[in-house]
C-alpha cells in the first residue's frame, strides 16, 4: 500500500534572493486565464535561461555527461566495427588478440582530472565503459585500422595514467647487454653477500692464448673470485658445486670464463651470490638456456635471510626450557 507521509514539520525558508516563494494570498485577486487573453502583461523581471546539461537534475551533471559521451563513443565504435565485420568476433579470432592490459588512473586521480567526486560505484561504472572501449581499440589496432585506433586513443588517454609506459615496464628486468669485448656484467645476491660477475666466452681466451704463442687446447672454464682461483677461495666442495651447477645443467661447462668480486656474508652466501650472477650471465649470453635456469630456480634471488630473534625466545625459533612452575 503506497501512501505519502507528508512531513508535518514546518518547512523553513532562508531569506535569500534566490528562493522566492509565491503564495496564493500574496498575488492579489484571481483572474481566470481566459479573461487575460487580450491583456498585455509586463515582462517578468528576470527571465533566466534553462539549464544547459541534460543531466542537470541528477545533481552530478559532469559525471553523467562523461558517462553518456562514453556510451555514445561505444555505440559509434560498435557500429563501425560491425561494418568492418570485426564484431562479433569468432572464437579463433578472439584467441588471436593480444592480452588487454588497461592502465587507468586511480580513483582519486580520476576525480581530480574529471573535476567530480567519484564514489566507488560511479568509479566502477566508468571503468567498465573504459574497458569496453579499450577492447574495441585493441581489435581495431590488431586488425590494422590505425585511424580508428587513433581516434579511440584520443578519447582514452584522458583516463590513462600519465606514466603508462613506466607502469607497464615495472617488474620487467632491464636486459643485460654485452659490452664491446663480449663480456656480460651481472649482479648476484644471496643472504647478505653480493657478487659482481663478469663473464666472457672462453673461445676468446683460447684464441688470445694462441696469438700469444701457446699450444692450442680445448676451452675450459676458469673462475677467479676476489683475485683468487675458485679452488683457493672456496675450499669447501659444496660451495664449488654450487658455483658450477649453472654450467652443468645448461651443458655450457667450459664455454665461459668468470671473473667475480664478492663482498659481505660468509662462504655459502658468497658462493650462492656468485652462482646467481653466473646464472644471469649465462641467460644473457645464451638466451635459450634461460628457461632451463628458471625451472631450476637459479635465476631467482634466494629470498631466505637470517630470521630475527624474538622476545621471549632464545633465538628466532628456539624457546627456553619449559618449567612446570
Amino acid at each position: 500500500m503506497a501512501s505519502i507521509a507528508f512531513s508535518s514539520r514546518r518547512f523553513t525558508i532562508p531569506v535569500q534572493n534566490v528562493l522566492r516563494r509565491s503564495y496564493a494570498t500574496t498575488s492579489g485577486s484571481f483572474v481566470p486565464p481566459a479573461a487575460q487573453q487580450d491583456v498585455m502583461h509586463a515582462p517578468r523581471r528576470r527571465i533566466l535561461p534553462n539549464p544547459e546539461s541534460k543531466t542537470f537534475y541528477t545533481g552530478r551533471a559532469a559525471f553523467y555527461d562523461y558517462v553518456s559521451s562514453l556510451e555514445l563513443a561505444i555505440h559509434h565504435t560498435r557500429t563501425k566495427l560491425k561494418q568492418l565485420h570485426l564484431t562479433p568476433l569468432p572464437e579463433f579470432a578472439l584467441k588471436s588478440l593480444p592480452p588487454l592490459v588497461p592502465v587507468w588512473k586511480s580513483k582519486n586521480d580520476l576525480s581530480t582530472s574529471l573535476s567530480t567526486k567519484l564514489s566507488a560505484a560511479r568509479h566502477r561504472r566508468l571503468i567498465e565503459l573504459l574497458n569496453q572501449l579499450n577492447d574495441f581499440r585493441r581489435i581495431a589496432q590488431t586488425a590494422g585500422h590505425a585511424d580508428l585506433g587513433l581516434g579511440l586513443t584520443n578519447i582514452l588517454e584522458v583516463f590513462e595514467r600519465d606514466d603508462k609506459e613506466e607502469h607497464l615496464r615495472r617488474g620487467i628486468r632491464k636486459p643485460v647487454v654485452l659490452d664491446q669485448y663480449g663480456r656480460s656484467y651481472t649482479l648476484g645476491k644471496r643472504k647478505t653477500s653480493s657478487a659482481r660477475v663478469w663473464m666472457i666466452s672462453s673461445q676468446h681466451a683460447v684464441e688470445s692464448k694462441i696469438q700469444a704463442g701457446a699450444t692450442p687446447s680445448p676451452p675450459t672454464t676458469e673462475i677467479i673470485v676476489n683475485n683468487k682461483p675458485l679452488s683457493s677461495y672456496f675450499p669447501m666442495p659444496a660451495d664449488r658445486e654450487r658455483i658450477l651447477f649453472p654450467f652443468k645443467i645448461t651443458g655450457l661447462l667450459g664455454a665461459y670464463n668468470v671473473f667475480s668480486i664478492t663482498r659481505g656474508g660468509g662462504t655459502s652466501g658468497q658462493s650462492g651470490a656468485v652462482a646467481h650472477g653466473i646464472a644471469k650471465g649465462l641467460a644473457a649470453h645464451v638466451p635459450d638456456v634461460a628457461l632451463i635456469l628458471r625451472r631450476a630456480k637459479l635465476l631467482r634471488r634466494d629470498p631466505r635471510m637470517v630470521e630475527r630473534k624474538k622476545t621471549g625466545l632464545a633465538k628466532a625459533r628456539k624457546a627456553y626450557a619449559w618449567v612446570k612452575r
Binding site: 503506497a2 518547512f11 528562493l19 565485420h85 572464437e91 579470432a93
Partner: protein, 294 residues
C-alpha cells in the same frame, strides 16, 4: 575461402593481412546472404518487428492503439492482495493471480498526458523524465534527447532527495542566480521507488505524470497513467509517446519564438519609421513657422 590452401580456416590470426582476409571473407559471405535474402520469405529485417523498435520507434500519440499497450504488457498489475483501494476504478479484474489493469481507461489518460506534455513544451516549459531502474535508464535518456536541446532533462539514477527543495545547497547560489532550476513538468516512470521526488514536486507545485501500478495510490500523481510499472517495454512505450508529443510542442514553441522575434523586428522598424517621419515634419514646420510648435 582462404587464399592459402594449407592453412586451416579457423587458424589463429597473426598478421594484419590475416585479419584483412578474415574481414574480406565475412564481407563476401554477407554479400552472398544479402543477394539471396530477397528470394523466399517476404519478411525482412526492415519490415519485421525488432526488440529495439519499442525504444527507437515508439508510436506517435495520435497513432497509439490498445493492441500496442497490450503487446507491451501494460495490463499486468500486481497481486490482488496488494491492490490499493484507490486503484479499483482503474482495475479491470483479476486473472491468473494478478490484477488486470483496464487499458480502456489507460489509453485516454495516456493521450491526455501527451497533450499536457505538448502544451507545456509549446509554452517553453521544461520537462524532466525520471526512471531510476537500470533497464529504463536508456528509455528516459532517449526520451529526453528526442525532445531537443534545452527543454528536456533526464534522471536515470537515484533521485537525490533535496534536488528541488534543497537546491540552494545542492547547486549553489551562483547557479541559482543564473539558471531556472524548477522544472515545469515531471514524468516519473517508477513512482513507488521515487517517493521523495513526488514529495518535492508537491512542495514546489510541479505537475507530475506517472505510471501507476495496481499497488500504488493514484492520487499521489497529478496525471496518472494506470499501467504496469515493472515492464521495460511499457516504460519505453509511455516515455516514447510522451516525448514525441513533447517534440511537437518544442516545434510549436520554436515557431512561436521566431514569430515573436519577427514581430518585434517589424514593430521596431515601424517605430523607427514613425519617429523619422515625425522628426521630418517638425523640421518642416519649424522652417515654415520660424519657431517651435511646442
Amino acid at each position: 575461402m582462404s587464399t592459402a590452401t594449407n592453412i586451416p580456416r579457423n587458424a589463429p590470426l597473426q598478421t594484419p593481412q590475416d585479419w584483412s582476409e578474415m574481414q574480406y571473407d565475412r564481407g563476401v559471405q554477407k554479400i552472398f546472404m544479402d543477394r539471396f535474402e530477397k528470394f523466399g520469405s517476404t519478411q525482412t529485417r526492415e519490415n519485421a518487428w525488432q526488440p529495439h523498435h519499442s525504444l527507437h520507434r515508439p508510436p506517435p500519440p495520435g497513432q497509439l492503439t490498445l493492441s500496442a499497450l497490450v503487446a507491451s504488457g501494460a495490463h499486468f498489475g500486481h497481486s490482488p492482495s496488494l491492490l490499493n483501494p484507490n486503484f479499483i476504478p482503474y482495475a479491470y479484474g483479476t486473472r491468473a493471480g494478478v490484477t488486470i489493469i483496464d487499458l480502456d481507461q489507460t489509453l485516454p489518460l495516456l493521450r491526455r498526458a501527451a497533450n499536457l506534455t505538448r502544451a507545456v513544451a509549446a509554452r517553453g516549459g521544461t520537462v524532466v523524465f525520471l526512471g531510476s531502474r537500470p533497464d529504463i535508464r536508456g528509455a528516459v535518456k532517449k526520451a529526453a534527447e528526442r525532445m531537443g536541446d534545452r527543454q528536456s532533462y533526464y534522471v536515470g539514477e537515484k533521485w537525490l532527495p533535496g534536488t528541488l527543495t534543497n537546491r540552494l545547497h545542492l547547486f549553489g547560489p551562483r547557479i541559482l542566480n543564473r539558471t531556472r532550476v524548477i522544472p515545469d513538468l515531471m514524468i516519473i516512470l517508477n513512482p513507488l521507488q521515487n517517493m521523495p521526488a513526488i514529495r518535492e514536486c508537491a512542495i514546489e507545485h510541479i505537475p507530475t505524470i506517472g505510471i501507476i501500478d495496481s499497488n500504488v495510490d493514484p492520487r499521489i500523481i497529478m496525471y496518472p497513467i494506470p499501467a504496469n510499472d515493472e515492464s521495460t517495454r511499457t516504460a519505453e512505450l509511455v516515455s516514447g509517446v510522451l516525448s514525441i508529443a513533447g517534440r511537437e510542442g518544442v516545434e510549436l514553441w520554436k515557431q512561436e519564438e521566431t514569430r515573436r522575434l519577427l514581430e518585434r523586428n517589424s514593430n521596431e522598424t515601424k517605430r523607427n519609421e514613425r519617429r523619422r517621419r515625425e522628426a521630418e515634419e517638425e523640421n518642416y514646420q519649424i522652417g515654415h513657422d520660424g519657431g517651435s510648435k511646442l
